[in-house]
């Protein structure tokens, strides 16, 4: 039951009606029931896995809080082992078996590895990371263990952010979940504006340009200019898709009186790789920083060790997105960018002053946006062969071939939509550059407008989303992770 479906609308009407009628713990149980129904609507079998994860982490964290010394560490390892084990089995088992089999075949060792067809439970990467961070925080004594199973279950299963984040920390979300069943309901109606904007981004924009990313299905046959166009299309599709989802999630949570963290802050206005990761999928990059990069040593050791930590973190970050080599390649690409930027700043101290000059900022942002696009080509290409074919064309080894492509489009009478899309991409980039803030902050500004223009803006966005909806709306891209 995706946010863009009419079933979800019906679900919300029933849910909010019940939420308004109930009080106290009954309201908390209602939210939990709704969350279980929401998750079970994908595949009821995976609900057991989610509930299992709730029980294991709840009781292990309680035990960790009581234990001392080695026992404490052992208990933590049980939680980590369970969470990563589930993730490894459902998400990576097939990938590792297939990759090992292929490697053996290439080495000339005959083998017949079983083809594992394991169905990936939706949102597993998101809720696994969320529960994992809770147990680690309890172990680090940053957080007391939650003693109420209902509060903890709500923290893990809260439906607005259950399947694709933002990956929240217990110290932020748990107190808010506790308030759901203990304090009066104070909905923040600016959530409606976020929902309308999120749906517009996803339905009207992301799904609108989706067809243009098809060039990655056959990069060998594509015009290089067409492939660049497809790369821009994918860069904005994935941004509108995922940030649209995040806006709806944050908006829904606001209607429940819960504040979720921002997941995006104008990422294409970033001037370098570190800046990009402070703006793109913020909840994941902060998670990777706190639970992987820093425990690996962070930047505390030698320069070489820091580079290793950066690369390893990004490689695993890439693999987190999906069990495929092109995601690993995408992670490696970003890891290398981070390493290069760090080396540049260390070797050439004047770089920071130069980069800080205001006149250079737009150029930096534009150049880095194109570098990010090269990364998106790896993300979208789906096979290693397609990755290499795409890069070969994108790096202009065959020239841009702009005129032949435009002539080809004119012949097909497809020029107008391409120009419309290009204008859309340029405006979207410019908007991000001029307003480098999160949608949450922008919506706060819009919500301060006088009543009528505000209502007109929100309702028009919802209306436009409906008008431009595709006949068969595709799922959110990040649902597959």
């Amino acid at each position: 039951m995706s946010f863009t479906t009419i079933s979800f609308l019906t679900f919300c009407i029933v849910f909010f009606a019940g939420h308004a009628l109930l009080r106290g713990r009954a309201r908390g149980y209602w939210l939990l029931l709704a969350s279980a129904f929401f998750y079970g609507s994908w595949d009821v079998r995976f609900l057991a896995l989610l509930v299992g994860s709730v029980f294991v982490d709840f009781f292990v964290a309680l035990a960790v809080a009581r234990a001392e010394g080695v026992r404490r560490k052992r208990l933590l390892l049980i939680s980590i082992g369970f969470n990563l084990g589930v993730l490894a089995f459902f998400k990576y088992a097939g990938f590792f078996v297939a990759s090992a089999s292929e490697l053996l075949t290439r080495l000339g060792v005959a083998n017949s590895a079983p083809a594992l067809e394991i169905v990936l439970p939706v949102g597993i990467s998101f809720y696994t990371f969320q529960t994992l961070s809770y147990t680690v925080d309890v172990y680090r004594k940053r957080l007391p263990a939650c003693r109420d199973l209902l509060d903890f279950a709500l923290y893990v299963m809260f439906f607005p952010q259950l399947v694709a984040g933002p990956i929240e920390r217990a110290e932020r979300l748990l107190p808010q979940m506790r308030a759901v069943s203990r304090e009066p309901w104070r909905p923040d109606l600016s959530g409606l504006a976020l929902i309308a904007l999120g749906l517009f981004k996803k339905i009207a924009l992301a799904d609108g340009v989706r067809a243009y990313t098809d060039a990655f299905s056959a990069p060998d046959r594509a015009f290089p200019a067409a492939l660049w166009f497809a790369t821009y299309a994918f860069a904005f599709q994935i941004y509108w898709d995922f940030s649209g989802y995040s806006d709806v999630a944050i908006g829904l949570a606001r209607l429940l009186g819960v504040e979720l963290m921002s997941n995006f802050r104008a990422p294409y206005a970033a001037t370098g790789p570190s800046d990009f990761w402070r703006r793109w999928h913020i909840s994941l990059s902060e998670w990777l920083r706190d639970y992987l990069y820093i425990p690996l040593g962070g930047n505390r050791g030698s320069a070489l060790r820091t580079q290793r930590n950066l690369l390893l973190t990004m490689l695993l970050g890439g693999l987190w997105h999906g069990a495929a080599w092109h995601f690993v390649l995408w992670g490696a690409f970003h890891g290398l960018l981070l390493c290069a930027a760090r080396a540049l700043a260390e070797r050439w101290p004047g770089w920071r002053q130069l980069a800080a000059r205001p006149w250079l900022r737009p150029l930096q942002a534009l150049v880095f946006f194109h570098i990010t696009c090269l990364g998106w080509a790896l993300f979208r290409a789906q096979t290693l062969e397609a990755c290499f074919q795409s890069w070969h064309k994108l790096l202009l080894f065959e020239g841009l071939q702009l005129r032949p492509w435009l002539a080809h489009l004119a012949e097909l009478q497809e020029l107008a939509p391409v120009y419309v899309c290009l204008a859309l991409f340029a405006s979207a980039w410019l908007l991000q550059y001029l307003q480098p803030r999160s949608t949450k902050d922008l919506v706060v500004q819009v919500w301060g407008w006088p009543l009528l223009p505000r209502a007109l803006a929100v309702a028009s966005l919802a209306y436009l989303a409906m008008l431009l909806a595709p006949l068969k709306p595709p799922a959110f891209i990040y649902f597959q992770f």
Binding site: R221, A226, A416, V418, M466, P470
Partner: protein, 320 residues
């Protein structure tokens, strides 16, 4: 403050819904909505009609065959079929005609396996909501409960009550999207230097007649037949062939047998309903179809002859 914000938002949405209804009345912008009253108008303009044809485009050739089979003047048979009007829509249409005070000697309605493919469409939801008298909505709800996603149908009903953009502007959606973003069909011609291998066309209007689909489809057919029994003295359910099950293969034979057996069982539960099995060997030829569900001109010619012959063997008088 919160209430004011909500009221302003609701008023704006109401204004947009009004705009939307205005678009719906405009012939160019809302053709799907425009076509809904047409069969109703056709029926109301035919006071002498004693026989009515309902259903979707797969039944669009019935009227002349009925007139020929029973040797009736054309004005006695009214064709009230509507494009894309499947069983749930037929149920709604029959209830609407009944509420307008019409009654017939016979009501004829055809189904093939395509009508059993549960595919939710905004346009169909709009037809059902627009045609169904509000007092009979529970009839629709009973059918929706058999669907794979009742929430979706309930939401569709609600959305069409609030705003016709939802169902009506599927036409507008197609055109606005095409204008903004180009063809949605996934054609690869825009980026290819040399055209690659052609993608295989999907089986348009094909259906595998799976168990989940059948549950919803049979509930809808049952509902439609019941509504038609209130509309006419006698109801005829015509089992139509389709391309997949017209083939001379084991799978097609098994599918046909299941299709016939389930409808025989359904009709056996209802009085005053006749089953006309139009699965004559002369019609079981995939060459007689223009797509998965619709007969081509040669097929229609042959099917008309078979239906007329079948009807001529049946009495014209009302069934006891």
């Amino acid at each position: 403050m919160r209430a004011r914000a909500l009221v302003a938002l609701l008023l704006t949405l109401a204004a947009l819904a009004w705009l939307d209804r205005w678009i719906g009345r405009w012939e160019e912008g809302g053709p799907y909505r425009q076509e809904i009253p047409r069969p109703i108008t056709a029926v109301m303009r035919a006071p002498e009609a004693q026989h009515i044809v309902l259903g979707c485009s797969t039944s669009n050739w019935f009227a002349p065959a009925i007139a020929a089979g029973w040797k009736l003047p054309g004005r006695e048979v009214v064709d009230a079929h509507m494009s894309d009007c499947l069983q749930a829509c037929t149920l709604a249409e029959a209830r609407r005609l009944q509420s307008l005070g019409r009654h017939f000697r016979t009501a004829t309605f055809g189904v093939n396996t395509f009508e059993y493919c549960e595919e939710y469409r905004e346009r169909r939801s709009m037809q059902e909501v627009e045609l169904m008298p509000l007092a009979d909505t529970l009839d629709l709800a009973r059918v929706y409960l058999h669907s794979t996603d009742p929430l979706r149908y309930a939401g569709g009903w609600l959305m069409n009550q609030v705003s016709l953009t939802y169902g009506n502007t599927m036409w507008l959606q197609r055109h606005a999207r095409k204008l903004w973003f180009g063809d949605e069909g996934g054609s690869s011609a825009w980026f290819e230097r040399e055209p690659g291998p052609r993608r295989k066309r999907s089986n348009v209007f094909g259906c595998d007649y799976s168990a989940a689909d059948r549950d919803f489809g049979l509930a809808a057919t049952r509902g439609a037949l019941r509504a038609m029994l209130d509309l006419a003295d006698r109801v005829q359910l015509v089992l139509l062939p389709d391309r997949d099950y017209a083939a001379d293969t084991e799978v097609a034979r098994t599918g046909r047998e299941l299709f016939v057996a389930e409808h025989r069982a359904l009709v056996a539960q209802l009085q005053r309903v006749e089953l006309i099995e139009l699965l004559d060997p002369t019609l079981l030829d995939p060459q007689l179809f223009r797509d998965g569900a619709h007969l081509n001109s040669r097929g229609v010619k042959r099917a008309r002859a078979v239906l007329s012959a079948s009807l001529s063997e049946l009495p014209q008088a009302s069934l006891p």
